[in-house]
Symmetry: D2
Subunit: 362 residues, 4 copies
């Protein structure tokens, strides 16, 4: 995967310095793992809250099961978020409360902020992008609000998989409504997340603030560009979000109705035919954005979340629904396809589209 | 609960001898626990497959976490299923493949078979009853096919809770369609059930043969009696059934649309106003068939499955659905409200309605 | 159990007002559940940190799965720990850091503080008591340091079960050394306890500060009274303490060597012959302090923790050890036999021994 | 790792055809994953019970989470175990009951059988080898019982890690006795293994036939070669074996006493200084057979089982024991270091020592 992509970028292309905001959280740590041998990007700066400033990543590290870290990365010294950043590309894994004003400030200083936070996902001038699905929404950044900098966001970790699976179906058959129920993994809750006392041998039927994102974010991602602005798609999604005792991998049960009701075979063809809309190989893109299981009992979180190095969205149990048109299940790795990998893929999209800013000397 | 019920039956009323078919399985064992101090019924016979015939219950027992067994029960000697049974009331916890022909034969011999098996649930002359919901369907047994004996069934363990919650909503607002996703507990799979290797840190997205029951069984239970036959209700339910690492308690996520769209408050009033349709106290009936949680994060399987000694159906998170009309969650104890307790409640209904047959001497 | 005990105390005996320190934690909440229908004691006061003062128990409650609470208890208003307490008997479920100075102050004011905290367990004038095992250590409170008040402690939640199983073996065969490895439950860690992210599909091989208690506390509990002071027993116990994904019930694997090496049969006889040393029925005492399993695969935490309403200590797999003399497993409910129930049993011991102080009016 | 090893073997060395007995079980499947790109060995034959004969591996496959399989391997057609085998090297992952007579027969026909089964582990002429620890025991195969063929075994999956950790300590300080308690993973039980109903939120305190292996196998592995026979080491190990809700990775708690009592530092030095006794690089050998953690809370099964691609044994919490001399914890991946990887490492040892037989044409 990476070799081909590296060739696409060309050996002569300049490497890009990247800063990571919120480098000590689960998503920030995963970004570091995914970036440490990246063909285009170098981790140049890392930062988090005031408390950690001045420590090295190695000092702050607690075992997280997210994979090994390279020695060079371990020596990076944490900055305070308020310090000046010098990298043109900033990846943000900040909590939304912090992300809101800070990302805006950094964008106004000319940084391209590729953010996993929810703060700006519905901002008219900050495109909400799943690179395989709606890369052309990047042109929202062409507007007058941006000289060089800007904010680019990826969706909620469970929406990421869902909207990828819905994209080819919506484009072929026009989604009207969908009912979804999620089985979300523990790592989606960040640190420390739910206690073992709460979640062992149990399901938590509520995730604060989560369900509304299933209604609004897919409308925007699958919306249309009109005069440089996004018109949300007019379908309605109603969601129930739960937490289950699974470490990684958000599973979503979907029932959907379409304007042009497809047969199961037609829907299957649409899913199998889906290809990334980027049109160029990206290092973090999986060979296939969607894998359609024919086995009855798949996808399963523990068995299938790592497909395509965690970037492939699994769809399974595609069948007719007695109440709407189609039923199916969607699985995606919440930390990779749903967060760290999604942001990096968006950054790679910016790279191949020539949108990494040149930062004026401070 | 039981004291009041015992009074209703009267001290002078004759106790009924009960036989349990399939006494060694999870549901059969739970029936034994629930019956061993019953105010009306005495466990007189127990039976299972040929292999266990002649052994005492104590000999066959493996620890099951279903509660203590009384000494008198431990001494019961297992019959072969083929032997003659002498109890007028037979509770069946047989696997469906065995239940089909055997229950028919026993009914034709004059026994009232109250069955948890799925074999006869859609038979025109075997009513499918949730005692609190559709007790009057018992009159199906008045037809010419029955002299004394007959077969009475209760629904699938996950349907039992769902249909109880849907009943007051359907009656008030006329259900048109519903999309449901289940989180089903391990004990619903019987023995040995899924392996730990399959289910630890995972969700199994498929339960063979399960989903169609959500479409057909509620139509029948909430159907209407016309000329002694059941006309199924014309609504459509589409289900996705999954297995989660929970021991007991099936959780169901529901989105539903109605002919007369209710507000959340109207739906809440309907649920709160629901009372058993039996009209007489039954020993196994909970004080309230439905408990409506107002807390955001309830019901939870581990915390709430034992409400009303496992016979109360919990409903929570009642709110508007963006895609249909209403969203909510339903939880019920799969072994009690969904199986053993459901069958016993149906037997108690037969008792107060005078339908326990007098068995002619063999 | 309780009926007999109530008779022993006599209908005419005065009820005792009890205050609970640390009423909002896991152990405090469990004390409330165990005390709310107690034949001798009335919950008169409850208190915890400053933050909760003035709220009712109902206001502060979060679902904890520890059982239902009586309405009368719900209305109790939390005191600040610094306020004057008026109950002669105080049960302490405080964290040790807070318990140290506060329990001393309350004892000096004439209260009998029956504490679950570790702060005073090794104090020469605060007996460390497992009521069934060493009730006579209560006479340590006769010393000049106490007018009326005093502090009485129970051991660590995992030591409680272990020392009960070791008591009859030590008395019969003189324990010399033991190696123990624990499998401790989540609820033993209090709130919030370990995160699900840390404990799902894992074992945590370290519990800070825990292992030393296995060395020191059994020495004291099984020590001898000489001139009103406890001489620790001279055996050596080396422990490894771990946390496993179990909700309640601490399992301990034990290998032990004795001065008079017993056969397995002799050890079995000693365990089976063990009876509470109190010599009077106590409401919270189980019918049998020790249950010896003969089945190979018992005790198991989930199946056996509730034996004797959580007050019976289960022993199983008693067999010869190739390296020392005997091997066996011990299981006890960490919140009941290991904490809340242990403290209440100690309070009941004080009651039948006439040691509840009369508190002078403030 | 593999590159260096391949160089050691030399580009000109002939590749060895390998047959896998018991190819459909958990260990057999793991062997296939580890061998499918092996620098010296080619999977030439696969076989299992009569039932699977004639099917391809792909036909029989169920998802097992053990990693991807190469297409070439998928096409291999299963033999019946009774058919003639043509590969000089046979890796056996058979159940012990089948392994006993079959492995003997195949050895007598001139095959070198490298077995993971327990059937021949204590046979005088079948060496029990952990390649890093006692490779010289291979000379047992020089005896008159073997012309070309023979049986070479690896230890029980939990003993494998334990004995690796004990080896440097025993050699430096002479082990006298040890008490061990295991926390064994689900995959160690093969298929289907314990049910979820048995193991969720629980610990199973008994594994049939397991504990005696901790007494006998380490004695043999750490025994001495005298006149071509193994004299078992005279230490005594007493074990308690349990099953915990962990997927892979056996954790063992150890307390040990030595003839020459080491300090913790001396023991630490011995562990850190341990190197494989093979004296040549093997493709499956980890860079370091033992990793000694200094962190208090390690090793943990889920975080550390994959160290060294599952071939490194983790030791942690090394400290003084109050009852014996030292306490520590050992973790190893039960399917790799404890089974499939152990057998392959033994096969590689045979390869570099020139012990792969030349099989006469049938």
């Amino acid at each position: 995967m990476r070799e081909g992509a590296a060739m696409a970028a060309g050996d002569g292309a300049a490497r890009v310095r990247v800063g990571i905001l919120g480098a000590t959280g689960t998503v920030g740590q995963k970004m570091i793992r995914l970036l440490q041998r990246h063909p285009w990007f170098d981790i140049a700066e890392v930062g988090a809250s005031e408390r950690s400033a001045g420590s090295s990543l190695a000092d702050l590290w607690t075992p997280d099961g997210l994979g090994p870290r390279d020695p060079g990365v371990d020596d990076l010294v944490m900055k305070s978020l308020d310090e000046p950043w010098t990298s043109p590309l900033l990846l943000s894994a900040l909590p939304s409360s912090v992300a809101g004003p800070l990302e805006s400030k950094l964008a106004s200083r000319g940084h391209l902020v590729v953010s996993n936070a929810s703060a700006h996902r519905m901002d008219p001038d900050a495109p909400l992008i799943v690179a395989d699905v709606n890369p052309d929404h990047l042109s929202v950044l062409d507007g007058p609000a941006h000289k060089n900098g800007g904010i680019l966001t990826n969706p909620n970790c469970a929406v990421a998989g869902l909207v990828t699976a819905l994209a080819p179906l919506h484009r072929a058959f026009t989604l009207e409504r969908a009912v979804v129920t999620t089985f979300q993994a523990i790592s989606g809750a960040g640190r420390p997340g739910p206690s073992a006392a709460a979640l062992v041998e149990n399901v938590l039927p509520f995730i604060p603030g989560e369900e509304i994102k299933f209604t609004t974010e897919p409308q925007r991602i699958l919306g249309t560009l009109e005069d440089g602005a996004i018109q949300p798609a007019p379908f309605q999604i109603g969601a129930t979000a739960t937490r289950v005792p699974v470490l990684h991998g958000h599973l979503v049960s979907v029932s959907a109705a379409f304007a042009d009701t497809p047969t199961v075979n037609q829907a299957s063809d649409a899913l199998l035919g889906f290809q990334s809309a980027v049109g160029a190989p990206l290092p973090t893109a999986p060979q296939s954005p969607i894998h359609l299981f024919e086995e009855d009992d798949r996808p399963q979180p523990r068995l299938d979340r790592d497909l395509g190095d965690g970037m492939t969205v699994s769809v399974g149990r595609l069948r007719a629904c007695e109440a709407l048109d189609l039923k199916f299940l969607v699985l995606s790795h919440n930390l990779i396809r749903g967060a760290a990998g999604a942001a990096i893929l968006n950054a790679e999209l910016c790279y191949v589209r020539g949108r990494i800013p040149t930062l004026a000397p401070a």
